[in-house]
């Protein structure tokens, strides 16, 4: 098969139109970083590869389009990384953010493999650059993609096409045939051409999580899910994950959990990406729709605080909150997409936010009275704190007293989900009875829960995608040959 495939035209149209009879060595479902790394590595190993991306071409790549860096271990500084980041340090960070909810053997293996990914991904056409303005804290650990995640994807797609990987967009897989842990074929539905059956010797599932599937989220979050904003495309619906779990693949990760950050309430329902985020919490206070504070805004430094506020807002009535600060701090954080809402008095601001003016005035008066003198330094846990209010603001507490008063309304922005398929070091899926699947592999967010059972560390999703994508492709190609 692999030999015959090489003789087909570059775009592979002839092979495709043979329809039912066409059989590929490797079928990749998904179109992001993991899927493309799998497709490229399988193709480089000599396999014929078909990639089915459910989204239209512009929206290809799932969450990868919104990423910007990857966390890889390295023993020395490079042209773009300011210092070493050893495997051990990477492991310590992973252990800390997951609170131990990780498969140590798999995680350490991934961390080891990540070292080589720094070079391998460049060989696939991706280019690095030093950390972006405003992200200096990641300059040692994370390698940034020149031009961002979509640039990275574009490079991978060009390489895949050049190698002869076939790629279909708007290609929704509506069913997968699995018998006794063995993948047989997939039912493909396309806007033009209707439904077709695609047979392949092996399957690589790299189709992401279910963060854009509001109905599914509602199963765990109830009606609150209707107020969630989804940071990625509407195509991350988790349909492949659901099929696999329903057909005997072992699950991993807490199905009820998702990673969420506070994003601007004015952001679009889907695909607002990184630019709708807010990290100005430490410079003010956060109140709910009753104008009440509900959590210590000065608890921790970035990135931990960044990662908790989505869930905190999700727990508030109507899933809405407002970051409130005054005019003295507007230039202390990165410029925002949406301008802050402003009022010359607290009451005027409350009116614009549809909050009770008396309640907001009372909250701010009490907060201001509780602020103790200190030396402000937002880069460390400083000594500016409150006394005598509940909840306290334990660091960076300063009075809000210089008009105009400003606010950002925020909602939970759902980034990714943790539920996934269990895999081993070959990226091979494990079935419910613990046996490895005969020919099914998984890579990327769909299996991230194996390594990242909880929490988040910047760039680790891309590490999981590239490392396991590369392995899944290689193993699938090997599997197809046997």
């Amino acid at each position: 098969m692999a030999q015959a495939f090489r003789k087909t035209p570059k775009n592979g149209v002839r092979c495709w139109t043979e329809g039912m009879s066409s059989k590929y060595d490797v079928l990749v479902i998904g179109g992001g970083n993991a899927a493309l790394c799998a497709a490229i590595s399988a193709r480089r190993a000599g396999a014929s590869v078909l990639v089915l991306e459910g989204a239209p071409k512009f929206y290809r790549g799932g969450n990868t389009r919104h990423t910007r860096n990857m966390r890889c271990a390295h023993d020395a500084a490079t042209e773009i990384l300011t210092g070493p980041y050893t495997e051990e340090e990477f492991w310590d960070d992973l252990l800390r953010v997951t609170g131990g909810e990780t498969d140590e053997e798999l995680a350490r293996f991934m961390i080891h493999e990540s070292k080589d990914i720094l070079n391998w991904i460049v060989e696939q056409g991706v280019r690095w650059q030093p950390s972006l303005g405003g992200t200096l804290s990641l300059g040692r650990t994370n390698s940034f993609f020149l031009g961002g995640g979509r640039a990275m994807l574009n490079a991978l797609y060009l390489t895949a096409e050049r190698l002869g990987v076939e790629i279909r967009y708007d290609a929704e897989v509506v069913d997968i045939k699995i018998e006794d842990g063995m993948f047989l074929s997939a039912e493909l539905k396309q806007p033009v051409g209707g439904t077709t059956t695609v047979a392949a010797a092996t399957l690589v599932a790299a189709a992401g999580g279910f963060e854009a599937n509001i109905e599914w989220l509602r199963e765990y979050w109830g009606e609150a899910a209707d107020n969630f904003l989804i940071r990625g495309t509407p195509y991350n619906r988790g349909s492949i994950l659901k099929m696999l779990l329903a057909k005997g693949v072992q699950e991993v990760g807490d199905p009820t959990q998702c990673h969420a950050v506070a994003i601007d309430a004015r952001a679009p329902k889907f695909d607002g990406g990184i630019i709708t985020r807010h990290d100005s919490v430490v410079f003010g206070i956060v109140v709910n729709k009753h104008a009440q504070r509900f959590y210590d805004e000065g608890e921790d430094i970035w990135p931990k605080r960044y990662a908790i506020w989505g869930r905190l807002v999700a727990a508030q009535p109507d899933q809405i909150a407002h970051i409130i600060f005054d005019s003295t701090v507007v230039t202390s954080f990165m410029p925002t997409l949406f301008p802050p809402i402003a009022g010359d008095t607290i009451a005027e601001l409350a009116g614009k936010l549809e909050l009770d003016p008396t309640a907001l005035e009372k909250t701010i008066t009490e907060f201001n009275a509780a602020v103790r003198p200190g030396t402000f330094d937002h880069t460390v846990l400083d000594d500016c704190r409150t006394e005598g209010i509940e909840p306290p603001k334990t660091h960076w507490a300063r009075r809000i007293e210089t008009p105009p008063y400003l606010a950002y309304p925020v909602r939970p922005g759902i980034t990714f989900t943790y539920l996934g398929t269990r895999v081993n070091k070959q990226a091979r899926m494990l079935m419910k009875d613990g046996r490895p699947s005969a020919n099914m592999f998984a890579a990327g967010e769909i299996m991230a829960g194996n390594v990242l059972g909880r929490g988040y560390a910047a760039g680790i999703g891309m590490t999981i995608g590239s490392v396991f994508g590369r392995i899944a492709g290689r193993e699938a190609a090997k599997n197809a040959r046997n």
Binding site: R65, F145, L146, G147, G149, L158, G273, P335
Partner: protein, 369 residues
């Protein structure tokens, strides 16, 4: 700050979107310059627009480009803003309207000046002289006396230079803080290097984006051919002028002589370069282009091509009876090129160079340098 035109308002909106993202920071000079600011005056936006080399990489790499609802198209918006800035800073102000119907104006000026040279040759000389065979030193000046040529072209050149200086002065004042800040030698040298190698027409290292998402260096190559072709032709004329006044040697010169060698190499560049640029333009994704300035772009490319092709034809056929008419055509083309320079696409190089100087200054000394 509120921007004063619809284009600048859109540019302001985009820079606000981009400044909260910053993924494109490594692609060119525009985004690092943007990051030094939190809000954007008209001058800032015109500066960023002229700093943009239209490589298209930020469009192809942007997760928010159309059809995304954020509708981020930086190359096209800045292209429109750039064209509008040429008109806004034009001197004298009364001629800024020339930019609007630039293609038409340039064709008319070119046709008129070529016709004028032919008619002039006929009117001031014996008509038989036009189609006569002239060789040896001073052959050209049988058709038009050298002093007349120098006076006419000197005047056109001086006018063009003055209009360009006045225009770019207005631009520099608008983009500079503090007002009228002097450029230092280091920044100018840096800008010469950046412009000379077209450092930012490179998509951050892979090339430009033209018809699709495959980067290519085609436009950079043709631009180099055109630009250095132009410089070589200019050098040829300068050397010839020195020969004439310092050494008393009169044109035409032998094929191996410096003015002819420089002019021939330059002429080849001015023929091949513009053809390549024109083809690249027609193949480019329309989403990246400002279609309202199509006439201006093509007009300038055509004038350069015309200058190159008439010059080369003159060189090849200078010992035949075609020399007279070709000399008239070549002089007409060069004359039209000169007098339309301050009111056409030529100014892009001047404004972009000024923006590069400003950028080098900001990098070296910060915003208030």
């Amino acid at each position: 700050m509120t921007a004063s035109s619809a284009t600048l308002q859109e540019a302001d909106r985009l820079m606000t979107v981009c400044n909260s993202c910053r993924y494109c920071e490594g692609l060119c000079a525009v985004f690092p310059a943007m990051e030094m600011r939190r809000s954007f005056s008209d001058g800032d936006l015109n500066y960023l627009a002229n700093l943009c080399h239209a490589c298209g990489a930020c469009y192809v790499d942007c997760q928010f480009s159309p059809p995304h609802e954020f509708n981020v198209n930086v190359p096209q918006t800045l292209a429109v803003a750039r064209a509008e800035s040429y008109a806004a800073y034009a001197w004298p102000r009364a001629l800024s309207g020339v930019f609007e119907r630039n293609g038409l104006v340039i064709s008319l000026v070119a046709a008129f000046s070529m016709a004028a040279f032919i008619l002039g040759f006929v009117a001031f000389n014996d008509p038989n002289l036009l189609f006569g065979v002239h060789t040896g030193p001073g052959a050209f000046y049988k058709l038009m006396p050298h002093n007349a040529m120098v006076a006419l072209f000197g005047a056109a050149f001086v006018y063009a230079i003055m209009a360009l200086i006045m225009s770019v002065r207005a631009f520099w004042r608008d983009i500079g803080e503090p007002i009228g800040a002097r450029a230092d030698g280091g920044s100018i040298f840096q800008a010469i290097r950046d412009a000379g190698e077209l450092r930012y027409l490179h998509g951050g290292g892979v090339g430009c984006y033209d018809e699709d998402d495959r980067p290519t260096d085609r436009r950079k190559l043709y631009h180099h051919l055109t630009f250095y072709g132009f410089l070589l032709c200019f050098a040829a004329t300068s050397v010839a002028t020195l020969y004439h006044y310092l050494l008393g040697r009169e044109a035409p010169y032998a094929w191996w002589d410096l003015p002819v060698v420089l002019g021939s190499l330059g002429g080849i560049g001015l023929i091949v370069g513009p053809i390549g640029l024109l083809l690249a333009k027609t193949r480019r994704d329309p989403a990246l282009l400002d279609d309202t300035s199509y006439g201006m772009d093509v007009g300038f490319i055509a004038m350069l091509f015309l200058t190159g092709i008439t010059g080369m034809a003159l060189l090849l056929l200078r010992v035949t009876p075609a020399m007279g008419p070709l000399l008239a055509l070549h002089l007409g083309a060069v004359f039209a090129l000169f007098i339309t320079m301050p009111y056409g696409k030529f100014v892009h190089g001047i404004y972009r160079f000024a923006a590069l100087v400003r950028y080098a200054q900001e990098r070296r000394h910060g915003l208030n340098g």
